[in-house]
């Protein structure tokens, strides 16, 4: 652009234009290097050091091996994967049809509904978690309503402080970020494809599986990338509605760092979760770039 359109007499200023990227990019990049990459680096070093109490110095991988070999943490990891995966599946089951309704059926309601979805995301997550706790609690609204009507005669304890409660709260917390990428993928679809499928004799199921699904697959992988990682590392919802059966890896990190003050073990645990997130992100990103899925 520069060489094509800048008049000749401005040629001497080329030195300045070479500095332009620097002027634009230096402040943002330095901030990320100092306060994003450096803390990650420090955390990696800390995770490889002996604990202060052990009295030893030098580097070790024992923080990592302690976590990986601890059966308790393996159980917590399993709970975490079960909760995160269930919440993700529930969201996808709701999000795909909802995105379809938004993209093709909503008509003049399309924009207001999108606004509602954005609004749902902007509401404070802590307020949302609290409102669910209020509904599901032992003396909460659902229990007291059930008892008032006489369906049960003593409160149902399983509603709150269970895996179930965490799954419900998490599934409603991230729905916006699940719906919008799938909706965006659907908006890009040429509607004539559906008519062509119909003309060629495809029923709705074949048309959904062979036409719609391959085209929205990239959107689904983007949704996984955006939502599954925060689900997997969430610790506020399990801490407030999970009780002991909904204890997740995020809570383990919080307890290690803030309760027992074991920074080395906390750092090691965080590094393991970061590695898992990174692998997941790379796979989901690669898959989202595939334009055609064989079915």
């Amino acid at each position: 652009m520069e060489s094509a359109s800048v008049p000749l007499e401005r040629a001497p200023k080329r030195g300045r234009s070479r500095l332009r990227p620097f002027a634009f990019m230096s402040a943002p990049t330095v901030l990320l290097l100092l306060l994003f990459l450096m803390p990650m680096g420090v955390m990696l070093v800390i995770s490889l050091e002996h604990g202060v109490l052990s009295g030893e110095s030098g580097f070790t991988v024992s923080n990592f091996t302690d976590i990986v070999t601890d059966p308790l943490y393996r159980e917590v990891a399993l709970t975490t994967v079960i909760i995160a995966t269930s919440a993700m599946l529930i969201q996808l089951v709701i999000a795909v049809p909802l995105a379809y309704v938004l993209a093709f059926k909503a008509g003049r309601w399309e924009l207001p509904l999108l606004l509602f979805l954005v609004l749902a995301d902007e509401l404070n997550p802590m307020v949302r978690i609290y409102s669910w706790r209020m509904l599901l609690g032992r003396e909460g609204l659902i229990n007291s309503a059930l008892m008032e009507i006489g369906i049960v005669n003593k409160p149902v304890d399983a509603l709150l402080f269970s895996e179930f409660a965490v799954i419900i709260v998490l599934a409603t917390s991230y729905l916006t970020y699940t719906v919008i990428p799938i909706y965006a993928a659907m908006k890009a679809i040429d509607r004539n494809l559906f008519e062509a499928a119909l003309d060629l004799g495809a029923g709705w199921w074949v048309s959904a599986r062979r036409v719609l699904l391959p085209l929205i697959a990239p959107g689904i992988f983007i949704a996984l990338l955006l939502v599954y990682i925060p689900l997997f590392t969430d610790f506020a919802s399990p801490a407030l509605v999970g009780g002991s059966s909904g204890y997740m890896l995020g809570n383990a990190v919080q307890d290690l760092v803030l309760e027992s003050g074991d920074l080395n073990a906390g750092a090691a645990m965080s590094m393991l979760m970061l590695a898992a997130s990174a692998i997941f992100a790379v796979v989901a990103y690669r898959l989202s770039k595939i334009r055609q899925l064989e079915s």
Binding site: P28, P39, L115, E122, A208, D234, L240, S270, M273
Partner: protein
């Protein structure tokens, strides 16, 4: 699904059997039910929370004990609640301004300029968006404690800025990519200076993206719990205050009252911003420009 809607037959509707007519209406009914269900699940609990902030009882439970504004009076004189909300507002305002500045600079640099290491820098900005906030919070806590920096609102604000401005970069880059560069070249050919180019050509085109980025940046900082929780030290933001109250005790109508005020303010802010953006995009295809805006960041 699209194939599910059979082609409506010509001729009088009376001939169509009832079961067929039901099948014809089913997709529409299912759409309405699904949408209603989602709205109920997303907003029902928060509406109940607002309702019970007016209940004249210290526990949140049926039966309804009568209407009161007592909890609002108590909330307005509660120092901790006050400080927490003010802290959050202060941090979010500063983070929004900082994110818009840094984010616009970086978005322009990454989409319009060529320089060595551009791929690495772009990847660095992108990777911030997928690293979980829990891990950024823990890393920040360890980093600042190794440096001997006391945790405070300033450390919260700095780390909020780090995680928020790459989002602004994503939203504004999407806006800049959509906007055709031939317009810029035309302006330069017609003799526009750099400043005029920015003021009269670029700025009007990215104004909706800037507005959207501003709202999201404010919300990300105001709502952020994980990072504030690890980096706050003895200072509390609003989400951290709610969390600590809920950890200590059972449900409190006081929290209902404060939360209702916050939620109401957020609804007003989002709806107001939406109307503003509608005006900004009106001369550029209106509705389609708005949906582009919501979906632009994720494409």
């Amino acid at each position: 699904m699209p194939g599910a809607r059979p082609v409506a037959p010509e001729g009088p509707r009376r001939d169509v059997p009832l079961s067929y007519r039901v099948r014809l209406r089913m997709p529409a009914v299912a759409s309405v039910c699904l949408t209603a269900f989602v709205l109920l699940v997303l907003f029902g609990p928060v509406l109940m929370l607002a309702l019970f902030s007016f209940n004249d009882s210290s526990i949140i439970s049926l039966p309804w004990e009568g209407f009161t504004t007592h909890w609002y009076e108590e909330a307005s004189s509660d120092n901790q609640a006050h400080d927490a909300v003010l802290n959050s507002l202060l941090v979010a305002s500063i983070v929004t301004v900082g994110s818009l500045l840094l984010g616009t600079l970086a978005a322009w640099g990454l989409t319009r300029l060529r320089f060595p290491g551009r791929g690495f820098v772009a990847g660095l900005h992108g990777s911030v968006l997928v690293v979980p906030w829990l891990i950024i919070g823990v890393a920040g806590l360890i980093f600042f404690s190794e440096l001997g920096v006391t945790l405070s609102l300033q450390t919260i604000g700095l780390m909020h800025l780090v995680v928020t401005f790459p989002l602004v970069v994503a939203i504004i880059s999407a806006g800049l990519v959509r906007f055709s560069r031939s317009l810029e070249e035309a302006a330069i050919d017609l003799g526009a200076s750099q400043l005029q180019l920015m003021r009269y050509v670029v700025l009007p085109h990215i104004a909706p993206s800037l507005a959207a980025a501003g709202i999201f940046a404010f919300a990300w900082s105001f709502n952020n719990f994980e990072i504030s929780f690890f980096l706050g030290g003895f200072e509390q933001t609003f989400p951290v205050w709610v969390f600590s109250i809920l950890r200590q005790s059972e449900n409190l109508p006081l929290v209902n009252a404060v939360s209702t005020v916050i939620a109401l303010a957020q609804v007003v802010a989002v709806v107001g911003a939406w109307r503003l953006m509608k005006r900004l995009t009106r001369n550029r295809g209106g509705d389609s420009a708005l949906t582009e805006l919501v979906t632009g960041g994720v494409r």
